[in-house]
């Protein structure tokens, strides 16, 4: 047996050399992607011109994945216009976003649902004792019901039928209830494979809120972020549900409109009792939000939608996402940048949202949001 001296040390040295070598090799990275071949959408570029920058700072924010694509574009434009500010929005889910905000780790949170009373009470701790957390409606969007039914297009469903499908009461595509709504379609006799989210999500919450509000006794569950009905199959994330619907014939599932557009999945038009079945689109979702009522107290601007609406062109399966900040007592290090960023997204940032499958907040509510942002301290 031949022993070598100092083998450990030498091994360590070689390892260190390798690691530092690797670091040196890759130490030529860059954050600047403007030269690369990423075509930016015209709408967002046009919006980038009119940004009034807040003071510099490093913003951490997290929450809703539903608004992530919108925030992504906002952050890109804002950081281009305001060098010296870094904004970092992490789409982990509304619950985690609110939790992190209430721990005082982030400057603001994005959420698909308004704060609960106990959360507002809890927020006084992070809002410097004087203020409390408020909901600012920032962007809305339609939740599309996508389907995969070869040979059938322009499927129309109404709330009770949707409820029965997702509750396992209607199991075949040629069920009389579906046939009645689609007299001209050739419906197959295959089984319906209904997909829902396996993870908790605001999308499920808003979808089931609609079913509760519009389908009445056909949806006998209390709602919430976790799926409650029995039966059906599940998948992780909106991307997972969309992928399953795309690859499974005879399937139906719900996800944000952008996933349907990205995957070219046909979506259900909803028969709300209006003169015509309503398609899932940004404009139609905006019409839905236009009729919303502010139910928050004080500076809190949380909205309540009327899911049973029969207004023409109002798409009822719509969600509104909020930014959550303190009304008073925001951390001084991040206040300036937070105000600057939020003013931008509530102002010129609202333009160009519909190109991405989102719905801007109607002017009346938006005006309140902007004055609230100006008063943040």
């Amino acid at each position: 047996m031949k022993l070598q001296r100092k083998s450990g040390l030498r091994a360590l040295a070689v390892g260190a050399a390798a690691v530092s070598g690797a670091l040196v090799l890759t130490a030529c990275g860059s954050d600047n992607n403007s030269g690369s071949s990423s075509p930016s959408t015209g709408a967002s570029n046009a919006a980038a011109g009119s940004i009034k920058c807040g003071s510099k700072g490093n913003l951490l924010a997290s929450g809703s994945t539903a608004q992530q694509n919108a925030v992504n574009v906002w952050v890109k434009n804002y950081m281009q216009a305001c060098p010296g500010t870094q904004i970092n929005y992490k789409g982990t889910g509304s619950g985690a976003g609110v939790t992190e905000f209430l721990q005082g780790s982030t400057a603001f949170a994005g959420s698909d649902s308004a704060l609960k009373p106990d959360q507002i009470a809890q927020s006084k701790k992070v809002c410097g004792g004087t203020g409390q957390a408020i909901d600012l409606p920032m962007v809305g969007g339609p939740i599309a019901v996508g389907y995969n039914l070869p040979g059938v297009s322009n499927l129309v469903l109404d709330a009770p039928t949707l409820a029965k499908i997702f509750n396992g009461k209607i199991v075949k595509w040629n069920d009389p209830a579906i046939a009645k709504l689609n007299p001209s379609a050739k419906l197959p006799s295959t089984a319906i494979q209904a997909f829902h989210r396996s993870d908790e999500s605001g999308t499920t919450d808003n979808f089931t809120k609609y079913l509760i509000g519009a389908a009445g006794s056909e949806w006998p569950y209390s709602g919430g972020k976790a799926w409650q009905a029995k039966g059906g199959q599940s998948a992780q994330g909106s991307s997972g549900v969309a992928a399953q619907v795309k690859q499974t014939a005879g399937s139906i599932g719900y996800f944000e409109l952008s996933y349907a557009t990205a995957g070219s999945i046909p979506t259900v038009a909803v028969d709300t009792g209006a003169s015509q079945p309503v398609q899932a689109s940004s404009d139609n979702a905006s019409k839905m939000i236009a009729d919303a009522k502010v139910v928050g107290t004080g500076d809190d601007l949380s909205l309540k939608l009327d899911y049973a609406t029969k207004a023409d062109g109002a798409y009822p399966i719509t969600l509104v996402t909020y930014e959550i900040v303190c009304d008073k007592g925001n951390k001084s290090a991040t206040l300036g940048a937070t105000k600057g960023f939020l003013s931008y997204i509530a102002g010129s940032g609202q333009q160009g949202l519909s190109g991405q499958g989102y719905a801007p907040i109607p002017a009346e509510i938006n005006a309140k949001v902007r004055s609230t942002i100006d008063a943040l301290s």
């Binding site: 047996m1 031949k2 022993l3 070598q4 001296r5 083998s7 450990g8 030498r10 091994a11 070689v14 390892g15 390798a18 690691v19 690797a22 670091l23 890759t26 030529c28 990275g29 860059s30 954050d31 600047n32 992607n33 403007s34 690369s36 071949s37 990423s38 075509p39 930016s40 959408t41 967002s44 490093n58 951490l60 997290s62 994945t65 992530q68 694509n69 992504n72 574009v73 952050v75 890109k76 950081m79 281009q80 870094q86 970092n88 992490k90 789409g91 982990t92 721990q103 780790s105 994330g237 909106s238 991307s239 969309a242 992928a243 952008s258 996933y259 990205a262 991405q356």
Partner: protein, 356 residues
């Protein structure tokens, strides 16, 4: 093992030299015949799944080999042949999915993998559009995994040495027990623990270091477990010989025990590094994630490769899927390079023993 079985049969068996052997091409012939018959049966019976064809071929091959060999060479040889074919079958069975996995990753990963991808961050890139890169995540992974290894490897190594070389009594039993428990910590729980302890109670902000603390917790038991196993395999004769020459125990461990098992220890460490390099949850909780380059692991949010893959996968559009696969490929390549280094070191450092 190439010079196997220069049969010197025991006296109670058949007389020597009278061994009839199957010709060398026999296994191949049986295999071909098995596949042919299986295809015949499959096509004849109208079985649609090619999986069934494969299974039938496999069964036919094993049975055929056994029958033929036991007829010609005897039962012990037949068992040996069956064992050999089963081992080969295991190998083929496992290689198919694993090959498919690698092939998929490479085929999908090379689409956007280029110099630009490796040297740019996601700064200013719209997630639904193409472009952007993985540089910030590479830096994050390098630093976080490096820091975690710096903490976990020495502790794990020394703990294993303690358990094998010194371990007696209650403390050693307790350590063994808790190392076992530690292997069962779900990564998100380790992340939550550090979150509560480091970020909420002690008030440090999100940073790469916070992530590496959680990664170190996940890494330690793997290092201890595999190192312990390798140290146990060092023959006691070696230790005794060294001690008998008057070498102190610590030098014996350092100069005899560790070098003898360095190959196995490095394999264990690499397994541990591989495990933590692919962890998403602690990074999500503790490092926060970042679109921009942050070279300082001790302050500010960072990204990491598995987090990047997860993030891009969750975005759910074609451009982000491409980035996810490419980043996965980068991650595999990263671990592969580390692995190569470790193996080189092991070969270079390991004493030339009589082993294979």
């Amino acid at each position: 093992m190439s010079a196997v079985v220069q049969d010197q049969p025991r006296s109670d068996l058949r007389p020597p030299l009278a061994h009839r052997r199957l010709p060398r091409w026999a296994p191949a012939a049986v295999a071909v015949a098995a596949v042919a018959v299986a295809c015949g049966i499959g096509a004849g019976a109208g079985l649609s799944s090619h999986l069934q064809w494969g299974l039938i071929a496999l069964i036919l091959f094993v049975v055929g080999t056994y029958a033929l060999t036991s007829l010609v060479e005897g039962r012990r040889q037949a068992k040996d042949r069956v064992a050999t074919s089963l081992v080969w079958a295991c190998f083929i069975l496992a290689v198919v999915p694993l090959y498919s996995l690698i092939e998929t990753t490479v085929a999908k990963g090379v689409k956007v993998l280029d110099g630009n991808f490796l040297t740019h961050s996601m700064g200013g890139v719209i997630t639904t559009g193409p472009g952007g890169g993985v540089y910030h995540a590479i830096i994050g992974t390098l630093e976080q995994v490096g820091l975690a290894s710096l903490m976990a490897v020495p502790i794990g190594l020394f703990t294993a040495i303690y358990l094998v070389e010194y371990g007696r009594g209650r403390l050693a039993k307790a350590v063994t027990f808790f190392v076992d428990v530690m292997t069962g910590i779900p990564s998100i729980v380790a992340g939550l623990f550090i979150l509560a302890f480091w970020i909420i109670i002690l008030g440090f902000g999100y940073s790469g270091f916070a992530g590496s603390l959680a990664l170190a917790i996940l890494m330690m038991p793997v290092v201890v477990r595999s190192t312990e196993e390798m140290l146990k395999l060092v023959p006691n004769e070696l230790r005794e010989a060294s001690l008998a020459l008057g070498v102190p125990k610590w030098r014996t461990i350092l100069k005899v025990v560790l070098p003898t098992s360095v190959g196995g220890i490095l394999t264990g460490v690499m397994l541990a590094v591989a495990r933590i390099a692919g962890e998403t949850a602690p990074v999500l909780l503790l490092v926060f994630g970042n679109q921009l380059i942050n070279n300082n692991p001790f302050s500010g949010a960072q990204s990491s490769l598995p987090y990047y893959v997860y993030e891009q996968y969750a975005n759910g559009n074609d451009a982000s899927y491409d980035r996810a696969w490419a980043a996965a490929l980068v991650l595999i390549a990263f671990v592969m390079i580390l692995n190569l280094l470790a193996r080189g070191l092991a070969r270079w450092k390991a004493p030339k023993t009589s082993g294979r």
